[in-house]
Symmetry: C2
Subunit: 337 residues, 2 copies
DNA sequence: TTGTACGCGTTATCAC
DNA sequence: GTGATAACGCGTACAA
C-alpha cells in the first residue's frame, strides 16, 4: 500500500501538499496546477490508496454507518439495509452490516464492535423483545454511546434513548384489519409473529382494536416465528382443524406467502375460499399479487443514512414516510356481503 | 470516547500496562492481578472502547472483510453474505457490505473504498458480465490489490486473478436437466438469466449439453432478468403463445417461484401440467416444495471468511462443497413415460 | 503557494 | 512486572 509520503517523494513535494491535492482542501487551500498534476500522476503510478484508518484517527470520526439487523435473510430487513447502503454511498459513507438474530447479547456485541470502528452512526433495523435478558445492558450501553456523540437510530420500536424513525405498527394492522372488515369478512384472524416482539405486539393491538370496534372476537394464531414456513404450517393446522377463517391478516409478507403456498398447493382458492393479506410490501409478495400494507422500508433506510451522514441532531429527525394499502388479488369481498 | 491514556491515568498505571491488560498480550507479557483488576474497573467506569482505527493504523491491517454483492435483496447473495458475516464474527472480523448492481464501475468504486479501509480481504459474491465496459479496469485494480497482499476471493466466475471458491455452474444445470429428462420429459426449456452474465451462460451450456446428449432441441427463454417477476412474465407469455413445455429448468429459484406463482394463480397444475425446477436452494423455494439444485451458498460465504481470517495463501484454497439435487413436489414423471 | 511539525490512540521495543 | 517512547499515515495550524 503506497502511502502519502511515498507519493509526495515521487512528486517531489511535501506530504502537506500531497494531502491537500488528494484529499479534500484543494479549494480552501490552493495548489498550483502543475503541482496538482504531478501529485496526481504520482498517486496514480503508485496506486495510492488513502488509509481510512489514519484519516479516522486524525479526524476523530470515520465515514462508517453500522447496521444491526435481526436477520439479513428476511426481506424486511434486507430492504432497509439496501436503502441504507445506497444512501450512505451517496455521502461517501459505507455500511457495516451485522447480524444479531434478535439476541440482545449479540446486539450488544455487535454494537460494541461497531463503536470500536468509530462508526458515526449505528442503526437498529429490528424491534426488540420485551423483557428479553440482556435488554437492559444493551440499553445502558446505547445510552452511553448516544451521550458520547454517536448517532443511534432505531427503525423499529426500541427501549432505549435513540433517534427513532418508526412506522406506526398499531395503525398498519388496524387499517388492514378494517379493510378486511369492510369487505364483509367477520371471521378475521391475525397470524404469525414473535411473542414479545414489540412490532408483533403492536400489530396485534391494532388488529384487536379494529375487531373490538366491530364487536367481533379477535383470533390470534401461529404466534411462534414469522417466516414462510411458519405461515404454511399454521394455516395447514387451521385447515386440519376445520377452523379456516374468512380472512387472514398476517404479521408480515413472509407469513402471508407461506399461507398462499399451502392453500394453492392443496387446492384452496384465494381469495374465493379465504382472503389473505400481509404487512410490509416486500418484493416477495408482489409476484403473488398479495394484498399488503406497503411500508417504506427502503426509504426508512435512506432517511437513517441521510440523518447520520448529514450529522443531524435530535431536532431535525425526519418523520417516517406514510404507509399505504396495496390491494392485490388475494383479497375479495365476502360471498355473503 | 474514553481513550487508553485516560484509563491508564485513572488506574494510575502507564498506557503500556493498560494496553497489555485490555488488548492482547496479557499472557505473553504478565501483569499482576491487582493492576489487572484496577485497569479493568477503570476501563469499565470510563466506558472504554478501543479505537479500531488506531489499532488498524498501528498493526497495518484491520479485521475487516469487504463484501461486494450484486444485489443484497437477492436471496442468492444474501445467503452468501450471511455465511460471511457469521463466520467472520467467529474470528473477530466484521463484514462491510457493499451493493454494486452488477455494474463494474460501481464494483470498482466499492472495491476502492474497501481497500481504503484496509480490509484484509474482499469477496465478490456475484459473477461478471462478459464484455461489460469497465471490466478491464476493475480487473487491473484487483490484480494490483492482490499483488499488494490483499486477499480477494471470488465466489462466482470472474475474469481477474483472485482466489476462487466457485460452484460448477455447467454441472448444476447439466445435472438438473438430465433429471428432467430422466422423468421422461422431452420438451424441456431453460428459463431466465442475464445475457452475458457468466453464471447464466455457464448454466445454459450445461442445459444445452444435456439436451444435445439426448438429441433434443434446446429452448432458452426469458433471457432478460432473473427475479420472480420475470419468471412470471415469461411463463405467462409461453402460455399465451401456447408454447408451454413439459418441463422448465429455471436459472434460479426466484424465477422458478415466479413461474409457480403464475401457474397456480391461473389454474395450472404443477407438476401435472408442467414440471418446474430452480437452481440455488434458497429459502424462497422451500415453502413451495420447489425441486432445485441446492447450492452451498452459506457455506461458500463461510469458507471465504475463514480463508481470509486465517490468512490463507494461494496454496490452501478450500474447494467448493458439493451441490445436491433436492427433489420437491414441483416435478413429476411425464404422463407418457 | 508550499513546507514544517505536531498529534490522533494504539502497540511494540526497549529500559528499569 | 512496569514504564517511557517511538512509530503507524494522515490532516492541519502555523511559518515561510
Amino acid at each position: 500500500m503506497a502511502t502519502l509520503r511515498e507519493v509526495a517523494e515521487l512528486a517531489s513535494v511535501s506530504v502537506a501538499t500531497a494531502s491537500r491535492v488528494l484529499n479534500g482542501s484543494a479549494q480552501s487551500h490552493p495548489v498550483s496546477r502543475k503541482v496538482q498534476a504531478s501529485v496526481r500522476t504520482a498517486a496514480e503510478t503508485l496506486g495510492y490508496t488513502p488509509s481510512a484508518a489514519a484519516q479516522a484517527l486524525k479526524q476523530q470520526r470515520s465515514k462508517i454507518i453500522g447496521v444491526i439487523a435481526s436477520d439479513i435473510l428476511d426481506p424486511y430487513f434486507a430492504e432497509m439495509a439496501r436503502g441504507l447502503e445506497i444512501e450512505a454511498a451517496k455521502f461517501g459513507y459505507i455500511t457495516i452490516l451485522a447480524n444479531a438474530n434478535r439476541d440482545p447479547d449479540q446486539e450488544r456485541t455487535k454494537f460494541r464492535v461497531l463503536r470500536e470502528h468509530q462508526a458515526s452512526g449505528i442503526v437498529f433495523c429490528g424491534s426488540d423483545i420485551e423483557g428479553a435478558p440482556g435488554t437492559a445492558e444493551l440499553a445502558r450501553e446505547v445510552n452511553v454511546a448516544v451521550r458520547g456523540g454517536t448517532r443511534v437510530v432505531a427503525l423499529a420500536p426500541r427501549g432505549f434513548d435513540s433517534t427513532r424513525i418508526v412506522i406506526d405498527n398499531v395503525a398498519t394492522a388496524h387499517e388492514l384489519t378494517r379493510y378486511m372488515l369492510s369487505l364483509g369478512h367477520r371471521k378475521v384472524a391475525f397470524m404469525g409473529g414473535l411473542p414479545g416482539l414489540s412490532a408483533t405486539e403492536q400489530r396485534i393491538v391494532g388488529y384487536r382494536n379494529a375487531m373490538f370496534e366491530a364487536q367481533l372476537r379477535p383470533n390470534v394464531v401461529g404466534l411462534s416465528t414469522m417466516n414462510q414456513e411458519s405461515g404454511r404450517e399454521t394455516v395447514a393446522q387451521l385447515v386440519a382443524d376445520g377452523l379456516l377463517p374468512d380472512a387472514i391478516v398476517c404479521t408480515n409478507d413472509e407469513v402471508a406467502v407461506g399461507v398462499l403456498a399451502y392453500l394453492w398447493s392443496s387446492g384452496y382458492k384465494v381469495p374465493d375460499d379465504v382472503s389473505v393479506a400481509g404487512i410490509g410490501g416486500t418484493r416477495g409478495g408482489l409476484v403473488f399479487g398479495l394484498t399488503t400494507m406497503t411500508l417504506p422500508l427502503v426509504e426508512l433506510g435512506r432517511l437513517a443514512a441521510r440523518y447520520i451522514a448529514t450529522e443531524g441532531n435530535g431536532s431535525d429527525v425526519p418523520a417516517a414516510p406514510p404507509f399505504e394499502l396495496r390491494v392485490g388479488s388475494t383479497t375479495a369481498p365476502h360471498p355473503n356481503a
